[in-house]
Amino acid sequence: MRGSDGAAARRVALVGNPNVGKSTVFNALTGMRQHTGNWSGKTVDVAEGRYRYGDEHFVIYDLPGCYSLYGGAGEERIARDFILRECPEVTVAVCDATCLERTVILALQLIESGVNTVICVNLTDEAARKGVSVDLEKLSRETGVDCVGTAARRKRGLRELKAAVFGACRAEAENACIKCGCCGRGSAINEAVVEKCVDDAVNCKENAREREERIIRRAEEICRACVNVSEGEDGGRRLDAALDRVFMGRWGVLVGIALLGLALWITVVGANYPSEALRALLFRGEEQFYSLATRWGAPSALRDALILGVYRTLAWVVSVMLPPMAIFFPLFTLLEDFGYLPRAAFLLDTPLMRCGACGKQALTMCMGLGCNAVGVSGCRIIDSPRERRIAVLTNSFMPCNGRFPTVIMLSSLFCASVGLGAGAVSAIALFSALAVGVLMTFVASKLLSVTLLRGTPSAFVLELPPYRPPRVGSVIVRSVLDRTVFVLGRAAAVAAPAGLAVWLLANVTVGGSSLLAVISGAIDPLARLLGLDGVILLAFFLGFPANETVLPIAIMAYSGLGAVAEISDAGIYALLSANGWTAETAVCASLFCLCHFPCSTTLLTVKKETGSWKCTALAAVIPTAFGVALCFMTHCLFAVFG
């Protein structure tokens, strides 16, 4: 590893218990923007960044959270193996000042294993709010290593931390490698010796328990000496406890529903304005481009393919899909930042346990609301392989950000078609759709746990984070921007070719009718059984690379080639009703949108996470089977009662 001036860069690892703010420290040191969130298990991979201190270059590694050097499974091993095998020059043990007694244990284990450690007591600001202060000098004397207090969110204490790391590097250089003599920086690593080191550190089974308990008691002792809690000022702690009772106590479920309902309502109502403005702007643009291209004498096929195909699909995605995505995502991120998501896991644990799944699945479900691919990789936080697989396979029942707007459009369409129109009503329809998604997750989890993935629920221990006031401004600005850039990027990569494909399908004719008509006609009888029609079913298939393109593709296909006269919501309803859409079609399309094969990105993630094609196939087949069954039942119900 070389710095820009050619000198060897110092290697520094960040370790600590989950949710003590390692990523925040990492970001503060490197100026990077690694995603941070207020819950345990956020970071699942090793991130690497650089910073300079004086003339020295440092490479810093942000490791996934881990509670203990001994034992531990999955994610926790990543951090341990990294430190023991890669032998970074300095390991920064990040601790949480608000619960030092627990978080300092890992630091003590590191020090005892001979790792060159610097203790970083983070979250000192939060601790101060809770009337907790840590005597760093005393802590340093007790542990024998440098201790630095930081408040990484406020960028406090970073200089001191860098100085301490630098100091520890120099000490390390003089000591060579105390631990095992195996790692001589830059020299070839003797794998066998490292293996033995790891083994010794980890598998001294006889006295591992005694050693751990001794360290825990030592941590108690140290904290009695170094931590001061001023009784009068523990308002923060009491507020946390009161909030916990509100969010998880008797009325917890209702409060959760209200919170989610509020977020949905804001999304539905708030999306209208930017949506209309964008539509007006983009479709005015279309006319201009069209007339410009005509004036310049562009070949008409090319002009139509690019403007009526590519541009128009892009315009639909941006104007109809982007606003709800860009509104819901930040709201969701605010809840995450605040620390609500693990509380939802607490609430949903009991039903999930009854379904043979893990309470942490509620967390991955929440992440699935943002993006199913993220939800699927988040399943790593679930320890039991059986329960992890259940969570992976059922994640796509949660409508991701890309499918949300489709459900919004369809539910307001449904409301309009049965004579209800207000935003609140379509928020309720949307909420019901989400409830269906959650219900289906439970049903599918239960089915899996009594068939393919039989087993008993494993023990469940979940640490809940403290509540943190969300950084409203930066969260909103950043997630709106990130989302917008992300959606625009995907739109360019996926919606544009899809638009071209639809245009071609609509314009290449076989025997007098367009390919589009032929294909959608062919699958139409099947689609009718599901309460859908051929076009929307085809759109679901064409939208496979990105779900946010499904509705735009359908609209394109319906509107054919003529300029869309009316581009307001009312215009879309008129267009869809003219093509035979009823309340039934809207309900069935929503259900199918909730329950069908996930997008290609998600499936690739499933393959990556499970390493099994069978699992990947199941992840596509299970939700599709559910969707088909639900739609068929709905169709029958409408046929009987409608």
């Binding site: 509670y67 203990s68 034992g71 531990g72 608000t98 619960c99 030092l100 007694e101 627990r102 244990i105 907790v132 328990r209 751990e212 308990e213 825990i216 008691r217 941590a219 946390d240 406890a241 916990d244 009772r245 998880m248 106590g249 008797r250 917890g252 479920v253 896991a345 607490f346 609430l347 644990d349 009991t350 346990m353 309470g359 023990a459 469940f460 221990v461 979940l462 640490e463 809940l464 984070p465 403290p466």
Partner: protein
């Protein structure tokens, strides 16, 4: 006077207890140990979930959610100061 020993899930909310015994499997004990939960540790139930299948406990400044069946392995007595 000897204090009564009760399983953790039967603990009264907002009362401090001391852990006297943990009879869980090795894996579960390991998990609890990682969270600093060993014999002698102070623990307090802060929120009981609806239905009583899960509850939240305050341990060493952190909040740990445990299912009833896990809490049943932990025996506690009231804290005597």
């Amino acid at each position: 006077m000897e204090k009564a020993e009760i399983p953790l899930h039967g603990a009264k909310p907002n009362v401090r207890y001391r852990i006297v015994r943990i009879d869980a499997s090795d894996a579960m004990r390991g998990r609890l140990r990682e969270l600093g939960i060993i014999c002698g540790t102070e623990i307090m139930q802060t929120v009981r979930g609806r239905g009583g299948e899960i509850a939240l406990y305050a341990v060493k400044g952190s909040r740990i959610a445990l299912r009833r069946e896990s809490a049943a392995y932990i025996t506690v007595t009231e804290w005597d100061g």
